[in-house]
Protein backbone atom coordinates (compact mmCIF):
# COMPACT_ATOMS: atom_id res chain seq x y z
CA UNK A 1 0.00 0.00 0.00
CA UNK A 2 1.37 3.37 -0.92
CA UNK A 3 1.42 6.23 1.53
CA UNK A 4 -0.01 9.50 0.27
CA UNK A 5 -0.63 11.69 3.30
CA UNK A 6 -3.00 14.56 2.58
CA UNK A 7 -1.83 17.97 3.76
CA UNK A 8 -4.44 20.56 4.71
CA UNK A 9 -2.65 23.89 4.32
CA UNK A 10 -3.62 26.65 6.71
CA UNK A 11 -5.11 29.58 4.77
CA UNK A 12 -2.48 32.29 5.22
CA UNK A 13 -4.88 35.23 5.04
CA UNK A 14 -7.96 33.92 6.81
CA UNK A 15 -6.78 31.34 9.37
CA UNK A 16 -7.71 33.53 12.33
CA UNK A 17 -11.38 33.54 11.32
CA UNK A 18 -11.52 29.85 12.24
CA UNK A 19 -12.50 30.38 15.88
CA UNK A 20 -13.18 33.02 18.52
CA UNK A 21 -9.91 32.32 20.32
CA UNK A 22 -7.85 33.24 17.24
CA UNK A 23 -9.94 36.37 16.65
CA UNK A 24 -9.28 37.60 20.19
CA UNK A 25 -5.58 36.93 19.66
CA UNK A 26 -5.57 38.95 16.43
CA UNK A 27 -7.37 41.83 18.16
CA UNK A 28 -4.50 41.86 20.63
CA UNK A 29 -1.82 41.67 17.93
CA UNK A 30 -3.38 44.46 15.88
CA UNK A 31 -2.68 46.87 18.75
CA UNK A 32 0.81 47.10 17.23
CA UNK A 33 -0.70 49.54 14.71
CA UNK A 34 -1.69 51.84 17.57
CA UNK A 35 1.77 51.49 19.10
CA UNK A 36 3.23 52.57 15.76
CA UNK A 37 0.80 55.47 15.55
CA UNK A 38 1.62 56.62 19.09
CA UNK A 39 5.37 56.38 18.50
CA UNK A 40 4.95 58.58 15.44
CA UNK A 41 2.78 61.05 17.38
CA UNK A 42 5.32 61.23 20.22
CA UNK A 43 8.27 61.84 17.88
CA UNK A 44 6.25 64.49 16.06
CA UNK A 45 5.37 66.19 19.37
CA UNK A 46 8.97 66.03 20.60
CA UNK A 47 10.19 67.54 17.34
CA UNK A 48 7.70 70.39 17.86
CA UNK A 49 8.85 70.84 21.45
CA UNK A 50 12.51 71.04 20.42
CA UNK A 51 11.89 74.12 18.24
CA UNK A 52 13.28 77.42 19.55
CA UNK A 53 9.93 79.15 19.54
CA UNK A 54 6.81 77.86 21.34
CA UNK A 55 4.62 78.26 18.23
CA UNK A 56 5.34 74.77 16.91
CA UNK A 57 4.49 73.14 20.25
CA UNK A 58 1.32 75.18 20.58
CA UNK A 59 0.33 74.25 17.05
CA UNK A 60 0.89 70.56 17.90
CA UNK A 61 -1.28 70.88 20.99
CA UNK A 62 -3.96 72.65 18.97
CA UNK A 63 -3.85 69.89 16.33
CA UNK A 64 -4.82 67.36 19.02
CA UNK A 65 -7.75 69.37 20.34
CA UNK A 66 -10.52 68.39 17.97
CA UNK A 67 -13.28 65.80 18.12
CA UNK A 68 -11.56 63.33 15.78
CA UNK A 69 -8.26 63.30 17.70
CA UNK A 70 -10.11 63.12 21.03
CA UNK A 71 -11.90 59.98 19.81
CA UNK A 72 -8.61 58.55 18.52
CA UNK A 73 -6.95 59.14 21.90
CA UNK A 74 -9.92 57.70 23.80
CA UNK A 75 -10.04 54.55 21.64
CA UNK A 76 -6.27 54.18 21.88
CA UNK A 77 -6.41 54.51 25.65
CA UNK A 78 -9.24 52.04 26.16
CA UNK A 79 -8.23 49.52 23.51
CA UNK A 80 -4.48 49.71 23.65
CA UNK A 81 -3.73 50.55 27.27
CA UNK A 82 -6.45 48.57 29.01
CA UNK A 83 -6.38 45.57 26.67
CA UNK A 84 -2.60 45.30 26.79
CA UNK A 85 -2.61 45.71 30.56
CA UNK A 86 -5.17 42.95 30.89
CA UNK A 87 -3.23 40.67 28.51
CA UNK A 88 0.13 41.22 30.22
CA UNK A 89 -1.22 40.82 33.73
CA UNK A 90 -2.91 37.57 32.68
CA UNK A 91 0.44 36.40 31.31
CA UNK A 92 2.40 37.29 34.47
CA UNK A 93 1.59 34.18 36.55
CA UNK A 94 2.38 31.97 33.57
CA UNK A 95 5.78 33.53 32.90
CA UNK A 96 6.68 34.02 36.56
CA UNK A 97 4.97 31.42 38.73
CA UNK A 98 5.71 31.56 42.44
CA UNK A 99 6.08 28.44 44.54
CA UNK A 100 6.09 28.74 48.32
CA UNK A 101 7.39 25.52 49.78
CA UNK A 102 5.39 22.74 48.15
CA UNK A 103 2.46 24.90 47.07
CA UNK A 104 2.17 27.09 43.97
CA UNK A 105 0.73 30.53 44.62
CA UNK A 106 -2.61 30.73 42.73
CA UNK A 107 -2.27 32.70 39.49
CA UNK A 108 -5.16 34.97 40.49
CA UNK A 109 -3.15 36.27 43.49
CA UNK A 110 -0.27 37.30 41.19
CA UNK A 111 -2.70 38.97 38.75
CA UNK A 112 -4.49 40.89 41.53
CA UNK A 113 -1.12 41.96 43.00
CA UNK A 114 -0.27 43.48 39.60
CA UNK A 115 -3.52 45.48 39.51
CA UNK A 116 -2.93 46.70 43.07
CA UNK A 117 0.67 47.74 42.23
CA UNK A 118 -0.64 49.49 39.09
CA UNK A 119 -3.23 51.44 41.10
CA UNK A 120 -0.69 52.47 43.77
CA UNK A 121 1.95 53.55 41.21
CA UNK A 122 -0.67 55.48 39.21
CA UNK A 123 -1.76 57.20 42.45
CA UNK A 124 1.84 58.20 43.24
CA UNK A 125 2.36 59.55 39.71
CA UNK A 126 -0.95 61.48 39.77
CA UNK A 127 -0.05 62.87 43.20
CA UNK A 128 3.53 63.82 42.21
CA UNK A 129 2.34 65.58 39.03
CA UNK A 130 -0.40 67.43 40.87
CA UNK A 131 -3.34 65.76 39.09
CA UNK A 132 -4.86 64.79 42.48
Amino acid sequence: MSRQPYIRPMPKATWYLRNGRYKVYMLREVTCLLVGFYSFLMIYGLAALSQDTPQAWNAFLASQQNTFMTIVHAVALLYFLLYQTFAWFELAPKAMPLQLGEKKLPGSVIVIAHYVAWAILSGIIFFATGVI
Partner: protein, 246 residues
Amino acid sequence: MARRQLELEIMRYDPEKDKAPWFQSYSVPCEEDWAILDAVNYVKENLDTTLAYRWSCHMMVCGSCGMMINGEPSLTCKTFIRDLPDKVKIEPLENFPIERDLVVVLDDVMEKLRMAQPFIIRKDDPPPPDTEYTQSRAALYKFKQYTMCINCMCCYAACPQYGLDPTFIGPAALAMAHRYNLDSRDQGKSERLDILGQHDGVWDCSFVGACSEVCPKSVDPAAAIQQMKVETAKEYWLQKLPGGRK
Protein backbone atom coordinates in the same frame (compact mmCIF):
# COMPACT_ATOMS: atom_id res chain seq x y z
CA MET B 1 -31.47 3.68 28.97
CA ALA B 2 -32.86 6.37 26.68
CA ARG B 3 -31.12 6.72 23.33
CA ARG B 4 -30.31 9.91 21.52
CA GLN B 5 -29.83 10.01 17.77
CA LEU B 6 -26.61 11.81 16.85
CA GLU B 7 -25.60 12.86 13.33
CA LEU B 8 -21.87 12.26 12.99
CA GLU B 9 -20.16 13.90 10.04
CA ILE B 10 -16.85 12.16 9.78
CA MET B 11 -13.99 13.18 7.52
CA ARG B 12 -12.90 10.35 5.25
CA TYR B 13 -9.74 10.01 3.20
CA ASP B 14 -8.50 6.92 1.44
CA PRO B 15 -5.02 7.63 0.03
CA GLU B 16 -5.54 4.98 -2.66
CA LYS B 17 -8.86 6.34 -3.94
CA ASP B 18 -9.41 9.94 -2.88
CA LYS B 19 -7.77 13.08 -4.18
CA ALA B 20 -9.01 15.06 -1.17
CA PRO B 21 -10.85 14.33 2.08
CA TRP B 22 -14.66 14.35 2.12
CA PHE B 23 -17.37 14.02 4.75
CA GLN B 24 -19.55 10.99 5.37
CA SER B 25 -22.64 11.15 7.59
CA TYR B 26 -23.66 8.46 10.06
CA SER B 27 -26.75 8.40 12.23
CA VAL B 28 -25.79 6.88 15.58
CA PRO B 29 -28.20 5.87 18.36
CA CYS B 30 -26.19 7.00 21.40
CA GLU B 31 -26.69 6.24 25.03
CA GLU B 32 -26.85 9.30 27.25
CA ASP B 33 -23.57 8.67 29.01
CA TRP B 34 -21.52 8.02 25.88
CA ALA B 35 -18.38 9.86 24.96
CA ILE B 36 -17.79 10.67 21.29
CA LEU B 37 -15.35 7.77 21.16
CA ASP B 38 -18.23 5.39 21.95
CA ALA B 39 -20.19 6.84 19.05
CA VAL B 40 -17.22 6.43 16.69
CA ASN B 41 -16.73 2.87 17.93
CA TYR B 42 -20.43 2.25 17.23
CA VAL B 43 -19.89 3.37 13.62
CA LYS B 44 -16.87 1.07 13.26
CA GLU B 45 -18.65 -1.93 14.79
CA ASN B 46 -22.11 -1.53 13.28
CA LEU B 47 -22.18 0.83 10.32
CA ASP B 48 -18.83 1.03 8.52
CA THR B 49 -15.90 -1.24 9.25
CA THR B 50 -13.63 0.67 6.86
CA LEU B 51 -13.34 3.70 9.16
CA ALA B 52 -9.76 4.20 10.40
CA TYR B 53 -8.92 5.98 13.67
CA ARG B 54 -6.68 5.58 16.68
CA TRP B 55 -7.74 4.81 20.23
CA SER B 56 -6.67 2.59 23.04
CA CYS B 57 -7.45 3.21 26.70
CA HIS B 58 -10.77 5.13 26.76
CA MET B 59 -9.64 6.82 30.01
CA MET B 60 -7.49 9.86 29.11
CA VAL B 61 -4.21 8.05 29.61
CA CYS B 62 -2.97 6.82 26.23
CA GLY B 63 -3.43 10.09 24.34
CA SER B 64 -4.23 8.44 21.02
CA CYS B 65 -7.88 9.41 20.41
CA GLY B 66 -7.40 13.16 19.86
CA MET B 67 -9.55 14.53 17.02
CA MET B 68 -11.22 17.77 15.97
CA ILE B 69 -14.73 17.71 17.44
CA ASN B 70 -16.80 20.54 15.96
CA GLY B 71 -13.55 22.33 15.20
CA GLU B 72 -12.03 21.93 18.65
CA PRO B 73 -9.11 19.57 19.28
CA SER B 74 -10.08 17.20 22.09
CA LEU B 75 -9.78 13.64 23.28
CA THR B 76 -12.84 11.81 22.01
CA CYS B 77 -12.91 9.75 25.22
CA LYS B 78 -13.19 12.93 27.28
CA THR B 79 -15.85 14.66 25.18
CA PHE B 80 -19.34 13.58 26.14
CA ILE B 81 -22.32 13.65 23.81
CA ARG B 82 -24.49 15.28 26.51
CA ASP B 83 -22.36 18.42 26.04
CA LEU B 84 -22.76 18.46 22.25
CA PRO B 85 -25.49 19.41 19.76
CA ASP B 86 -27.28 16.77 17.67
CA LYS B 87 -24.88 17.25 14.75
CA VAL B 88 -21.20 16.64 15.40
CA LYS B 89 -18.39 17.10 12.92
CA ILE B 90 -15.34 14.92 13.47
CA GLU B 91 -12.07 15.59 11.68
CA PRO B 92 -8.50 14.40 12.09
CA LEU B 93 -6.30 16.67 14.24
CA GLU B 94 -5.64 19.95 12.45
CA ASN B 95 -2.10 20.89 11.34
CA PHE B 96 -1.08 17.28 10.69
CA PRO B 97 -1.06 15.41 7.36
CA ILE B 98 -3.87 12.86 7.11
CA GLU B 99 -2.68 9.27 6.76
CA ARG B 100 -6.18 7.84 6.34
CA ASP B 101 -9.62 8.94 7.62
CA LEU B 102 -9.05 10.18 11.20
CA VAL B 103 -5.47 8.95 11.48
CA VAL B 104 -2.78 11.61 11.21
CA VAL B 105 0.96 11.40 10.51
CA LEU B 106 2.86 12.16 13.72
CA ASP B 107 6.46 11.67 12.47
CA ASP B 108 7.21 15.40 12.73
CA VAL B 109 6.28 15.76 16.40
CA MET B 110 8.10 12.55 17.28
CA GLU B 111 11.26 14.13 15.88
CA LYS B 112 10.54 17.33 17.84
CA LEU B 113 10.06 15.44 21.09
CA ARG B 114 13.50 13.92 20.47
CA MET B 115 14.97 17.42 20.04
CA ALA B 116 13.68 18.34 23.51
CA GLN B 117 15.98 15.66 25.00
CA PRO B 118 13.29 14.44 27.41
CA PHE B 119 15.56 12.56 29.78
CA ILE B 120 17.81 13.44 32.68
CA ILE B 121 21.23 14.64 31.55
CA ARG B 122 24.08 14.43 34.06
CA LYS B 123 27.49 15.95 33.53
CA ASP B 124 29.20 14.66 36.65
CA ASP B 125 30.53 11.17 37.14
CA PRO B 126 27.94 8.46 37.51
CA PRO B 127 27.05 7.89 41.16
CA PRO B 128 28.34 4.83 42.95
CA PRO B 129 26.14 1.76 42.62
CA ASP B 130 23.19 1.49 45.00
CA THR B 131 22.82 5.26 45.33
CA GLU B 132 20.06 7.44 44.02
CA TYR B 133 19.46 11.07 43.16
CA THR B 134 17.24 12.35 45.90
CA GLN B 135 14.62 15.02 45.35
CA SER B 136 12.46 16.94 47.81
CA ARG B 137 8.70 17.15 47.35
CA ALA B 138 8.97 20.90 46.79
CA ALA B 139 11.47 20.28 43.95
CA LEU B 140 9.11 17.70 42.44
CA TYR B 141 6.13 20.07 42.51
CA LYS B 142 8.12 22.62 40.48
CA PHE B 143 7.68 20.48 37.36
CA LYS B 144 5.05 17.85 38.22
CA GLN B 145 2.32 19.48 36.12
CA TYR B 146 4.48 19.11 32.99
CA THR B 147 4.87 15.38 33.57
CA MET B 148 1.12 14.95 33.00
CA CYS B 149 1.46 15.31 29.21
CA ILE B 150 0.20 12.22 27.37
CA ASN B 151 1.39 13.35 23.91
CA CYS B 152 -2.13 13.54 22.52
CA MET B 153 -0.99 16.44 20.31
CA CYS B 154 -4.21 18.42 20.77
CA CYS B 155 -1.94 21.40 21.53
CA TYR B 156 -0.27 21.15 18.12
CA ALA B 157 -3.69 21.00 16.46
CA ALA B 158 -4.71 24.17 18.33
CA CYS B 159 -1.50 26.10 17.65
CA PRO B 160 -1.76 28.44 14.63
CA GLN B 161 1.99 29.08 14.76
CA TYR B 162 2.66 25.39 14.15
CA GLY B 163 0.00 25.36 11.42
CA LEU B 164 1.56 28.32 9.64
CA ASP B 165 5.17 27.29 10.19
CA PRO B 166 5.75 23.57 10.85
CA THR B 167 9.43 24.22 11.71
CA PHE B 168 8.20 25.52 15.10
CA ILE B 169 9.14 22.93 17.72
CA GLY B 170 5.71 23.35 19.26
CA PRO B 171 3.95 23.25 22.64
CA ALA B 172 4.20 19.64 23.89
CA ALA B 173 7.90 19.21 23.04
CA LEU B 174 8.78 22.55 24.64
CA ALA B 175 6.74 21.74 27.75
CA MET B 176 8.56 18.41 27.94
CA ALA B 177 11.94 20.16 27.70
CA HIS B 178 10.88 22.59 30.42
CA ARG B 179 9.89 19.66 32.64
CA TYR B 180 13.49 18.37 32.54
CA ASN B 181 15.00 21.86 32.81
CA LEU B 182 13.11 22.33 36.08
CA ASP B 183 14.13 18.93 37.45
CA SER B 184 16.61 19.33 40.29
CA ARG B 185 18.39 16.11 39.23
CA ASP B 186 19.05 17.35 35.70
CA GLN B 187 22.14 19.20 34.45
CA GLY B 188 21.26 19.57 30.78
CA LYS B 189 19.43 22.90 30.82
CA SER B 190 21.93 24.93 28.80
CA GLU B 191 22.25 22.10 26.28
CA ARG B 192 18.48 22.12 25.74
CA LEU B 193 18.22 25.91 25.67
CA ASP B 194 20.92 26.06 22.97
CA ILE B 195 18.52 24.20 20.69
CA LEU B 196 15.16 25.40 21.99
CA GLY B 197 16.19 29.03 22.44
CA GLN B 198 16.57 29.47 18.70
CA HIS B 199 13.94 31.04 16.51
CA ASP B 200 12.15 27.76 15.77
CA GLY B 201 12.06 27.12 19.49
CA VAL B 202 10.41 29.27 22.12
CA TRP B 203 10.65 32.52 20.15
CA ASP B 204 8.30 31.29 17.45
CA CYS B 205 5.53 31.30 20.06
CA SER B 206 3.49 34.48 20.08
CA PHE B 207 1.36 33.42 23.06
CA VAL B 208 -1.94 32.69 21.40
CA GLY B 209 -2.49 30.47 24.44
CA ALA B 210 -4.72 27.99 22.57
CA CYS B 211 -2.46 25.05 23.49
CA SER B 212 -3.16 25.50 27.20
CA GLU B 213 -6.87 26.02 26.67
CA VAL B 214 -7.35 22.73 24.81
CA CYS B 215 -4.93 20.61 26.87
CA PRO B 216 -6.99 17.74 28.35
CA LYS B 217 -4.47 17.25 31.17
CA SER B 218 -4.06 20.93 32.23
CA VAL B 219 -0.35 20.82 31.46
CA ASP B 220 -0.33 24.49 30.40
CA PRO B 221 2.38 24.35 27.72
CA ALA B 222 1.96 28.10 27.09
CA ALA B 223 3.23 28.77 30.61
CA ALA B 224 6.21 26.46 30.07
CA ILE B 225 7.13 28.32 26.89
CA GLN B 226 6.88 31.78 28.50
CA GLN B 227 9.09 30.60 31.37
CA MET B 228 11.59 29.21 28.88
CA LYS B 229 11.68 32.58 27.10
CA VAL B 230 12.77 34.17 30.39
CA GLU B 231 15.36 31.41 30.94
CA THR B 232 16.66 31.66 27.37
CA ALA B 233 17.10 35.43 27.64
CA LYS B 234 18.95 34.99 30.96
CA GLU B 235 21.17 32.28 29.48
CA TYR B 236 21.95 34.49 26.46
CA TRP B 237 23.16 37.38 28.60
CA LEU B 238 25.06 35.12 31.00
CA GLN B 239 26.99 33.79 28.02
CA LYS B 240 27.71 37.34 26.80
CA LEU B 241 29.31 38.36 30.09
CA PRO B 242 33.12 38.38 30.13
CA GLY B 243 34.16 35.01 31.48
CA GLY B 244 30.50 34.03 31.28
CA ARG B 245 29.02 30.57 30.91
CA LYS B 246 30.04 28.59 27.88
